[in-house]
Symmetry: C2
Subunit: 325 residues, 2 copies
């Protein structure tokens, strides 16, 4: 870890500005606690409930902040995003709220409910064949043709700053955290959270959790450069991206202490505890940080006051049923 | 409806005293809202989230209030309850918190997880055969033998007053409700809620929801006396009691405008919306009031500001999976 933050792509002032933009627009999500959870982890756990955020995931924060940062000319020309997941709905809703035209590039075989939800927010959906076509190329072609702005899902300063507002709120509610555990896919949420933690609570430990079979974050942090890794089959679909973003990695190396792996069964166990004891529906990736904590992947956190990001709740009934089985 | 409340078994001052006893002991549960829910009902809906109460249901309020009202001699001799459901755990937890010995009479075939949870709270569990033995007789025999106090699940002034604190909190958070919709089984929650509503928001409509195949509340209100009805098979196990309590009925007749029926599928549809859109796990009875509203059983509430009691979240994984299917 380095403490020189001058050259970093996002600083705390960016998160503060994002928080001002999001005030009254994003939900200020609650912090959930549970005696059962504390007993099961040996820690005092504070869950930041981003599954209760608008569109059901933290992604709304970054997308809205990125769109709100556009100037009037950029807004008029619209935005493009490529995503089959929560980022698509986040950009679509943010665009509607800011009256910005939005085009979302989604795979042909995306869940119909997600395509419908994205259209319901007023976005134009362009589909592609994920086995033969490159969504990035399609998205960028549309952006070039229309003069629209591409809103990337994680490797963007305004997206990262927006995601950092969740940890900032958690720290306002629970100022004396010893540690924060955050799921990592591309790294938007972890990088943004780390910026907030280092500024407000520098002595706390900042930890990431990625799928056990995907070492994109762990290897990249070790090598100091983005690495592309194969991602095996996992239920943790919010973290299936094969790489961490460039800006995200710079922030991870500056601010994050450690990343650990979590496997599907550990995430499912966390989903089960959340549903049966805390009555909360959380998606596998959304429960992955808690899953790692429950599985004992952070033995140094026993006795600590630990924040955990529950990052999203958009799970299919089938996967939820599997967690409960 | 009569407005003469002098002879009624519970008055608002009783609810206020219960609220003082419960302060810092019961959770002050949140009020949940959802744009999807408002669109689906045509109303502005405020859900009081008692599935997030201690033991996962509103029952903790009444049980704790009843035990807290006992004098030191009564507390020393202990309490007895007969229940296979949320009331058992509510009495067990309240007893532990107040250091009162508790005996819970449960059927031999009660779900093992519920028996274990009740024992975990430190209560003694006595089992009986629900097909050949009478739980009330067993409970009363134990009470007589030990000098213990029976804590009934609904037909008791302190229980009713305790249950009334949930609606009181809701009114503090949302003072301008036009109506409140509450599930009714034995009538503790509806009677207590109605006392609070009539005192704080007398112009609002107070409505109950019971299983469609059980007319215990509707027939009793019409006839003016408690009626025993057969209860068909229903998933609404929190409302399977074949009668409304005597005290409860007096309060219903004084304060409640109307009771409507809800069928299993309507409750399951509400559970599904709660899980998929609001990310909340609610049991069938807990979702029954919302189910009736969603099913259009209260057409007069279109455009109104409607409070809905989500009364509990203790659902088996199997039933939750069925709601999601």
């Amino acid at each position: 870890m380095s403490t020189a933050t001058d050259a970093l792509p996002v600083v705390f002032e960016d998160v503060r500005r994002a928080a001002e933009r999001l005030a009254g627009v994003a939900h200020r999500t609650p912090v959930l606690t549970s005696r059962t959870l504390d007993a099961a982890t040996g820690a005092t756990v504070f869950c930041k409930a981003e599954h209760l955020q608008r569109i059901g995931a933290f992604k709304f924060r970054g997308a809205y902040n990125a769109l709100a940062a556009l100037d009037p000319h950029e807004r008029a020309r619209g935005v493009v995003a490529f995503s089959s997941g929560n980022h698509a709905q986040a950009v679509a809703l943010a665009a509607r709220l800011l009256a910005v035209p939005a085009t979302i590039v989604m795979p042909l075989d995306a869940p119909p409910v997600k395509v419908a939800a994205t259209r319901d927010y007023g976005a134009e959906v362009v589909t592609y064949d994920r086995y033969t076509e490159d969504r990035r190329a399609i998205g960028e072609a549309i952006a070039t043709e229309r003069g629209a702005t591409v809103v990337p899902p994680y490797d963007h300063p305004d997206v990262i700053a927006g995601q950092g507002t969740a940890a900032l709120e958690l720290l306002e509610d629970v100022p004396d955290l010893d540690a924060l555990v955050v799921p990592i896919g591309g790294g938007g949420l972890l990088a943004g959270s780390a910026v907030s933690m280092r500024a407000v609570r520098p002595e706390a430990t900042v930890l990431g959790v990625e799928p056990a079979g995907r070492r994109a974050a762990r290897d990249a942090m070790q090598r100091g450069e983005v690495v592309q890794v194969p991602v095996g089959r996992t239920l943790l679909d919010g973290q299936q991206t094969p790489e961490v973003g460039v800006r995200n990695l710079a922030l991870l190396r500056a601010h994050v202490d450690r990343v650990e792996g979590v496997d599907d069964d550990e995430a499912l166990a966390a989903m089960r505890l959340l549903a049966t004891r805390m009555k909360q529906v959380v998606e596998p990736s959304g429960a992955s940080a808690l899953g790692a904590l429950l599985a004992g992947r952070f033995p140094d956190l026993r006795g600590a006051r630990v924040g955990v990001l529950l990052s999203g709740g958009n799970v299919t009934p089938e996967v939820l049923a599997r967690a409960l089985a």
